[in-house]
């Protein structure tokens, strides 16, 4: 906190020395606000359009609503073979499983890498780092064959089970970084008090790494919620569709004729992401700054 204030003070002095005129910050703000508006305009416009009658969407670049039309949501909700509730619940189930899996498996691996000494640790750690950069496409075909032979097509298992096996190595790395920052003296104290390796993990490390766990939760939530490729491949039965797959088949089914309800359902699909963003901003920003995950 103090370094923060010190820094701001330095920055302020810096800009005071350099900003010849007082007009400069005003211009910066105007430019930034304009940029922010341009960036978010399409999204805001989509929300507004979802509340307009279909024929108005194509005439109105502005944000004023003349006739409020909420039927887009009702129509969109029931436009596919299953009501949208079903897809939301499916997505929620997948997200829940993925989050739980990542929290359990990644924290275990991270604890081993950050705190335990064992033969071959360096080797496995470098393998783990390399897998972060491995494209999913190299494994997707055999994975598909594997899961289809296991009879897992049209179940959520292919989307959840890998998470319990720490395949999202970013989070292992993120947690390793975090655990490295926890003083080892705490482990020592717990050990003297009679804690074993598992005890130290459960009673000392896990409670202290809540911020890292929160970051993992929020990123896993948003990524899994948005994930399209693997859900498209593994879920072909409309009953099992998740939100992104349902939205996509919505586009195909209505062939761009019903933008109003398409936007309405798009908005619905983005609401959880917005909420996760609002609640977890702090963790998201920290997480991305330390590991570069998106």
């Amino acid at each position: 906190m103090t370094t923060e204030t010190l820094r701001t003070a330095v920055v302020r002095r810096r800009s005071a020395t350099f900003g010849r005129a007082r007009i400069r910050p005003v211009l910066t703000h105007l430019a930034l606000a304009a940029a922010a508006l341009v960036m978010l305009y399409p999204v805001i416009w989509m929300v507004v359009s979802s509340l307009r009658p279909g024929n108005e969407i194509f005439r109105e670049p502005g944000l004023l609503i003349k006739d409020l039309e909420i039927s887009n949501y009702r129509v969109g909700w029931n436009a596919l073979t299953e009501p949208f509730t079903r897809y939301l619940l499916n997505s929620a189930a997948v997200v829940f499983g993925a989050v739980l899996g990542n929290l359990v498996s990644c924290s275990m691996a991270a604890y081993a890498f950050a705190r335990l000494e064992f033969a071959g640790k360096k080797f496995w750690f470098s393998i783990m780092l390399v897998t972060i950069m491995l494209p999913i496409h190299v494994v997707i075909v055999p994975q598909y064959i594997l899961f289809s032979q296991a009879g897992w097509i049209n179940t959520f298992l292919p989307l959840i089970v890998p998470k319990f096996l720490a395949t999202d190595a970013f989070f292992v790395f993120l947690m390793v970084q975090f655990i490295r920052g926890i003083p080892r003296e705490l482990d020592e104290a717990a050990r003297i008090d009679g804690c074993g390796k598992a005890g130290i993990f459960l009673r000392v490390i896990l409670p202290l790494m809540v911020p890292a766990l929160a970051t993992t939760t929020i990123f896993t939530f948003i990524w899994t919620w948005n994930d399209f490729f693997s859900q498209l491949i593994y879920l072909t039965d409309p009953k099992m569709y998740t939100v992104p797959v349902a939205l996509r088949s919505f586009v195909d089914a209505t062939a761009s004729t019903n933008w109003g309800s398409m936007f309405a359902m798009s908005v619905v699909s983005l609401v959880p992401v917005f909420l996760a963003f609002l609640l977890g901003q702090r963790f998201l920003i920290k997480g991305i700054a330390t590991t570069g995950i998106k």
């Binding site: 910066t28 399409p42 950069m133 890998p162 586009v251 798009s266 908005v267 983005l270 998106k294």
Partner: protein, 311 residues
């Protein structure tokens, strides 16, 4: 430190004697590592080896894989659609990544000057990074750049002729480039974190010497930020090579119009999961891995000449 930084320092020697004094406990280590190791072998390395084998076979999921040697690879040599998809992907990567990073750096520098409400702007600019990969945004993009879309509604009163940006093969890829640039928030946050590491006294010394703002940026900010630029560059290139969702949704899964948005991954999906040509798709997947590997290697080699480490 970032994963990339960590990786590049792995080879370097740690101080001697460390580790020897520590008591090893192999059992505990491997017990905690069990889920990850299982995943590594069953979900990653196993499938990788299988896909390497399948790359040399003809396999349609129904009949047993048939060994055909290098046939998939020779077929790739003469596959015009594949060549086109490579061209589309390369264009996308080489145009959108530098643009995205330039915008990210520009805004990071502006925000780092202690702008009031910096956290607010940072959040706003970061938000699209979270939304960008969603189907909903791809649907939105389809409308924004459509014939009757938002862009044309804005352009027409200004005297521009509207056109179907997405239905025109010459501009369709451009709309996806814009979409990728739009998600500059993630690299921007990394740049911001990097800028915080630069000691303010460097700038103070430079301004005492009478350096202009541009000069300070060029001679202090840029060199000290090169490791972060490098990190972002490697990551975003790998990321961009794998783009799929946006092109898939915008083109209705066809990579159209006239294959102008047929990303390599889209073509791979089309071969593997559209036509169940699993052998060929595997060969394509390995070629993608080689391409990404080569680019990452080139990046690492080239980095010796332009990335500056302060320590």
């Amino acid at each position: 430190m970032s994963a990339l930084g960590e990786l590049s320092t792995l080879g370097r020697n740690k101080p001697p004697g460390q580790g020897k004094t520590k008591k090893r406990d192999n059992l505990a280590g491997y017990l905690f590592l069990t889920p990850w190791l299982l995943g590594l072998f069953v979900i990653t390395i196993g499938p990788m080896l299988a896909s390497l084998y399948l790359a040399f076979t003809d396999y349609n999921l129904i009949q047993a894989p048939e060994w055909i040697g290098l046939e998939n690879f020779t077929r790739m040599l003469s596959d015009q659609r594949l060549h086109n998809s490579l061209q589309v992907t390369f264009t996308y990567v080489f145009v959108s990544v530098p643009l995205q990073l330039a915008v990210a750096l520009l805004l990071a520098v502006v925000l780092d000057r202690g702008v009031r409400g910096m956290a607010f702007y940072r959040s706003i600019f970061y938000l699209p990074s979270l939304l960008g990969s969603s189907v909903a945004i791809a649907i939105l993009w389809k409308q924004v750049f459509g014939t009757e879309g938002l862009l044309n509604q804005v352009l027409q009163p200004l005297g521009f002729d509207g056109k179907g940006w997405i239905s025109d093969p010459s501009t369709a890829l451009g709309t996806l480039v814009v979409l990728n640039v739009w998600t500059f928030g993630a690299p921007m946050v990394i740049f911001l974190a990097g800028l915080r590491q630069i000691p303010a006294m460097y700038y103070e010394a430079a301004s005492v010497d009478g350096a202009s703002a541009f000069r300070r940026f060029r001679s202090i900010t840029l060199p000290l930020l090169t490791p972060i630029i490098f990190f972002n560059l490697v990551l975003q290139i790998i990321h961009a090579f794998q783009s799929f969702t946006q092109a898939f949704v915008v083109s209705g899964g066809t990579g159209g119009p006239s294959d102008s948005t047929m990303f390599y991954t889209l073509y791979l999906y089309d071969r593997g999961f559209g036509n169940f040509d699993m052998g060929y798709a595997s060969a394509m997947a390995w070629f993608l891995l080689v391409i990404i590997g080569v680019f990452t290697a080139i990046n690492f080699i080239a980095s010796k000449y332009w990335v500056f480490y302060d320590d």
